[in-house]
């Protein structure tokens, strides 16, 4: 791979402008103190000092709502027209926890029955990650072996070194991107990696320390544990945890026809916290109360995902801790499992 590069901070805007000329650029934008990933035409307004976006950039691979195909049933053969794919894109400024979450989504969507809608977006997206120099009070990526200064799965990793960014080129896609605007980059003077370690140290040291040792093994025997009765009491079933989660991937499929023969089928994010999620036609409901639904969410992240895909279904981004209106928090659940299991 290409040797480490360096990018002066006053060149970031030029880099973003250059990228936006040849690809769709998606980057974090702050408005009314909320940071979100949005398609932008230039580097104007892009922020890289944010701690984490309020919702993950998952949307650009698995949109909250996504047209799958259009149909026309007035046509005697029921013509189906597939959706056009996405243009080449650069997803800029992704934090290491969110990069890991994309690798976890790959395990789901790029498995048996490869999901072409997801894979099209994945193939056409170059991911530029940014290391964390600071952490939020809700961060615990270390619990899942994630390092705020590493981003396996990204194509390029930037690390803020004060006056410049260290640029680590991790893949072919990354090489292509850097090569396409090589005049903006300088070679790293060799001090970059050491400076990076120092720069990301606060994010490692200050984050919540959660030890997952033994949690999975305990959960293997805790399906009927009374803690699900008590922990689920305060859940209000709003589904916010699943909406802000970078690894949640459940969806519904719906036809929209507006009372006409022409319409489209779309899929949209759904949540295991909603009663209708598992309710079958005829009324059969295997998860009738908040207890079963709360249990399903935590069991899925910390036990079932491990059994199926060999990794936890959580990256410790802390969004659900911050947004849950009743503080039903996966970090607390992990602690509780260790206490009572």
């Amino acid at each position: 791979m290409m040797a480490n590069k360096s990018l002066k901070k006053d060149q970031v805007n030029n880099l973003l402008n250059k990228i936006a000329q040849s690809s769709q650029l998606i980057a974090p934008i702050r408005s009314e103190n909320i940071t979100r990933f949005k398609p932008v035409q230039s580097g104007e307004g892009v922020v890289l000092d944010y701690q984490n976006s309020v919702v993950p950039p998952k949307d650009y691979f698995f949109p909250q709502s996504e047209k799958m195909f259009s149909y026309d049933t007035s046509d005697p053969s029921w013509a189906i027209t597939p959706e056009a794919g996405v243009p080449n894109r650069v997803l800029f400024g992704v934090r290491p926890c969110d990069v890991k979450s994309i690798l976890l989504l790959d395990k789901v969507f790029d498995a048996e029955f490869r999901d072409d809608l997801y894979i099209d977006k994945r193939n056409k997206t170059t991911i530029v990650a940014v290391s964390c120099n600071e952490c939020r009070h809700t961060c615990f990526c270390g619990a899942f072996g994630i390092n705020p200064g590493q981003a396996e799965g990204a194509d390029i990793l930037l690390t803020d070194l004060g006056d410049r960014y260290l640029v680590e080129v991790l893949t072919e896609k990354g090489t292509t991107l850097v090569g396409s605007c090589s005049d903006l980059f300088a070679d790293d003077d060799g001090n970059g990696p050491a400076a990076k370690e120092k720069a990301v140290a606060p994010a490692i040291e200050k984050q919540m320390k959660i030890d997952l040792e033994g949690v999975k093994a305990k959960l293997d025997n805790m399906f009927d544990h009374p803690m699900w009765d008590t922990e689920s009491l305060r859940c209000i079933g709003c589904g916010t945890c699943t909406w802000v989660c970078p690894t949640c991937h459940c969806f519904d499929i719906v036809d929209f026809n507006n009372q006409s023969a022409v319409g489209y089928r779309y899929r949209c994010a759904d949540s295991c916290q909603f009663a209708n999620f598992t309710r079958a036609a005829g009324g059969h409901q295997p998860r009738p109360s908040k207890k079963e639904r709360t249990r399903q969410r935590f069991m899925h992240k910390l036990r079932y995902f491990v059994d199926r895909y060999g990794d936890f279904g959580c990256v410790g981004c802390g969004r659900c801790l911050e947004k849950c209106p009743v503080n039903l928090d996966i970090a607390q659940i992990i602690k509780k499992v260790k206490e009572v299991g």
Binding site: F69, S77, N88, D115, D116, I253, F277, A281, Y304
Partner: protein, 282 residues
């Protein structure tokens, strides 16, 4: 900017035409369908026990088991209970109408492991639909399988599905016995009266060299499993099919997740020892 090349999408259905409709009961119809593009069926490769996502575009999509055996060429059959929004619309279809289908999904009955063995099928109501694909498969390959016993029941005579099979076609095939029962006495019914699990025990079956396959309402399955255990059947030789609400059929949408399994891709066919490893969600 570039646009994608068209790639085969597992979530995009094929269009088929309804070629025959059989009224099974007051709320069950069997639909025979043929794909508009004959190549689709040639490459379909469906096996007994597998399912398809059926949809009427603009209404919705549901997972339905394929009730016909792959030995019956040129078409697929689906037996559908009128129970929800989509199935109400499907029940209004006429011969010649279109239906959208994708699949086949899921695993299948272990037809190779079952070779040389006797088959004991215990089904209730519409539960005969998924196992009918297995029964016809075994009977169409008659020499490959031992005796076939079907214990089948419904609440009333009207609610018995596939009357043409259970009374006319299957009993005429050698080493094949069909034991039919209904829950309560009815005029003009001189067959057995009683619940399926009790009738199965009354008939008595040896577990030797026999695989039991059961499908029906949960309460029936519960007592059938107890009965089979009493008769000495081992968990590995007791097979059932599970169902849960599904949307994608390809192990991604999360609805049919139970433990580490997705019923749509890892099931619907499980043996009892596999089911005992799953979290007890049912």
């Amino acid at each position: 900017m570039c646009t994608t090349k068209e790639v085969a999408s597992p979530l995009t259905p094929h269009i088929a035409t309804v070629t025959k409709i059989i009224d099974e009961t007051s709320n069950v119809k069997t639909f025979q369908v043929v794909f508009d593009d004959p190549e689709v069926l040639e490459n379909f490769g469906n096996m007994p026990g597998q399912c398809c996502m059926l949809s009427v575009l603009g209404v919705g999509e549901s997972m339905i088991s394929i009730t016909s055996s792959p030995t019956r060429k040129g078409m697929l059959e689906f037996s559908i209970v009128k129970v929800g929004r989509l199935t109400e619309v499907i029940h209004q279809l006429d011969v010649g109408n279109k239906i959208a289908i994708r699949g086949p999904y899921g695993n299948n009955f272990p037809i190779d492991e079952m070779k040389g063995k006797n088959l004991l099928i215990i089904a209730g109501g519409i539960g005969l639909a998924p196992v009918r694909s297995l029964i016809d498969y075994a009977l169409d390959n008659r020499d490959d399988y031992g005796k076939v016993d079907v214990v089948y029941g419904a609440r009333s005579v009207d609610l018995l599905c596939f009357k043409y099979d259970i009374f006319d076609r299957w009993p005429k095939i050698r080493d094949t016995k069909i034991h039919v029962t209904i829950d309560r006495e009815e005029e003009q019914w001189d067959g057995h009266v009683g619940f399926v699990p009790a009738y199965m025990e009354e008939l008595g079956f040896s577990p030797e060299n026999t695989v039991a396959v059961t499908c029906g309402p949960p309460i029936m399955i519960k007592f059938v499993l107890q009965g089979l255990e009493k008769m000495g059947f081992k968990d590995e030789n007791i097979i059932t099919t599970l169902e849960m609400n599904m949307r994608c059929g390809i192990g991604k949408c999360g609805r049919c997740n139970i433990g580490e399994k997705y019923i749509c891709v890892d099931g619907p066919v499980f043996n009892l020892s596999q089911i005992k490893l799953l979290p007890p969600e049912f």
